[in-house]
Amino acid sequence: MSERSIVRPDFRHSPSIDQVGAEERAARFTKRSIKKESKLQGLHLALSMIDLTTLEGKDTPGKVKQLCYKAMHPHDALEGLPTVAAVCVFPSMVGIAKKALEGSKIKVASVATAFPSGQSTRDVKLRDTKYAVAEGADEVDMVISRGKFLAGEYNFVFDEIAAIKEACGNARLKVILETGELGSLDKVRRASDIAMHAGADFIKTSTGKIQPAATMPVTLVMLEAIRDFYYETGIQIGMKPAGGISKSKAALHYLVMLNEVLGADWMTNEWFRFGASSLANDVLMQLAKEATGRYQSADYFSID
């Protein structure tokens, strides 16, 4: 349990968000032009922030092991590359990943709580979480009960997150809001507030199973919620946009947004992650281009 007093405000009073304004602000970050050394720095940072993810019914130990090798050795042809931040898998694959990543600093993240729908009982969700942690998960990515949230049962959602947090023990908890199902930025803000107050270490946009997944305006609203929470409590919360960020250029736009909303303290993989499977290769391709001056064929980058 973290050393953190839990306060439950009236979440109906979360600040309101003007969608048009949020979209305009998000678009403005994309006007920043990231060139030369700042681009190189941004690409390295982006690579180090990736939660390399495989969340499919057809996942096997072999697939997970290959992904773990990729996590540790993104592209050995280029020197001086960071590893990714974590490998994100289903609970049944946590043990495999843990073993495969032994000796590295890469974390094992596991989705839990009846991912991706969250449509199960509290008991099942807690057991799911405890199993993942017992298998060695350093981080747990839970989903909130969107149905309960949309029905206005904020206390239910709050209590559930708090209970999962307790079940996590020392594992860090990422709370997935599944913003593509929430319907408005006001709701995104409200769900962010609930998650942070209930004990989330990270808030995360999406499962990747629902469209739209991460968008810049949604991430902006969540970053602003993190900022307000930080000013209110002094507690730093991490952010993980997930799903739909597959190009380096988009990743750099997100980093610009992070840099200008939360600033230097969040510009590390301890506080910001990209949940993505195909982003890594695009970042590697850009890094290879910066190093050699030429774009390489996609065939030079491993697909895992």
């Binding site: 349990m1 050393e3 953190r4 007093s5 839990i6 306060v7 439950r8 405000p9 009236d10 009073h13 600040p15 309101s16 968000i17 003007d18 048009v20 304004g21 949020a22 305009e24 602000r25 006007k31 920043r32 032009s33 990231i34 060139k35 030369k36 050394e37 700042s38 681009k39 720095q41 941004g42 940072l45 708090a162 602003e224 900022r227 930080y230 000013y231 409590t233 002094g234 507690i235 980093l255 840099n259 200008e260 939360l262 600033g263 230097a264 303290d265 510009m267």
Partner: protein, 500 residues
Amino acid sequence: MATTKKTATKKVAKKAAPSLKFNTAWEYAPALEGTSHVTIAPQYELFIDGKFVKPESGKYFNTINPATEANLSSIAEANAADVDKAVKAARKAYNGAWGKMSGAERAKYIFRISRMIQEKARELCVIETLDGGKPIRESRDIDIPLAANHFFYYAGWADKLDYAFPNRKPTSLGVAGQIIPWNFPLLMAAWKIAPALATGNTVVLKPAETTPLTALKLAEIIQECDLPPGVVNILTGAGATGAALVQHNDINKIAFTGSTEVGKLIQQACAGSSKKLTLELGGKAANIIFEDAPLDQAVEGIINGIFFNQGHVCCAGSRLFVQESVYKTVLRKLKDRMATLIVGNPLDKNTDIGAINSKQQLDTIHKYITIGKKEGAEMYQTDINLPRKGFYCKPTLFTDVAQSSRIAQEEIFGPVLTVQTFRTEDEVIEKANNTPYGLSAGVWTDKGSKIFNLTTKIRAGVVWANTYNKFDPTSPFGGYKESGYGREGGLQGLAGYLHI
């Protein structure tokens, strides 16, 4: 009521007050817009009767880049004789081909101008930035596209004037004398020229002396578009040139955008003449933030309201009113946002605030900053280094400002914001209206009824709700009280150039 429940036992140790650190983790490398595609002649003449001609005055003045103080070009200075030549050419064109042309034919020319502006947009935006100091992001994304859009929009009206004002047969006025300011050089030229041409008038336009280049580029475009000679004449010069234009007897209409001080002189000069007059003058707009506003978006609106174009905007939201209950939060958010504003080389694509347009304007801004400090207001500026060469000003806030402070009453026309608090709706309406100006205002609240209450009671030509500094050719723009009269843009913008 909020239900508060504490479930954990340990309390977090009190650390230093939370604060965010900006501009340290990741600095953006310079991303300069290229200038190799731009042609600026060493010397420009007057554009009269479809040709570039030497000034009768024989005089030239320099136009400089305010970001570097480097000389850009030598510009002809028109005197009364030049004005007379230009007005005669405009009259001849009005009595000749242009006056007799059908609206549908006129529209083709206007449409051609807008297309040409789009084609040359990359060159025009760089020149606008070089000559005026505004960030390339703004000239590229706002000034130039909007200028083209004004021509597009009014091209559409040229053959539909009979339907614009029901039961009227509108007719053109004749020769229009137009004087424009330095804050949006090409855009203001478009605001003036497009409706004048659509309504069948001919034009003598005088751009501001610190920013003549894009108007002269527009003259080249007009030449390339093959407009009949004399339909548009462009005379460069300073105040004396403008005065000669205003005083010329054979002008039917004066349209002026600029300071209230000069506007009053023009109104006096036009008194007793048959000249039709529209004035778009200064402002000191109230930007009002209620406690139920979407605050993060409102903060962005404050930033856009006062720091857009270095604050050189007549409708700038220069008086911020924040409801007391959210004052601290808004100020904190505003300061955090200001910390990420990049001030510097206007040609850098990452620059948010460029150079102040001229030494003279920088002095005016500094004068007001000194006055603000003397008046006892608390000043806040972001902690940044300004380029050593060129005219720059840090984004500036004044808090603890009284309604009677001069910095809250007079137009500063720079990146300087005064912040006042209020308690009730009635109070803020009274304070917002308590100014000689009435050009624009902003209202931020989640409540629709509050928006309608304020928009009906605030005496300003434009009231933005939950946004600020939004412009569109279809929307009329203009002032109340000492902010001038007449409307530009939209259907209403036609009226200033027609007998109705």
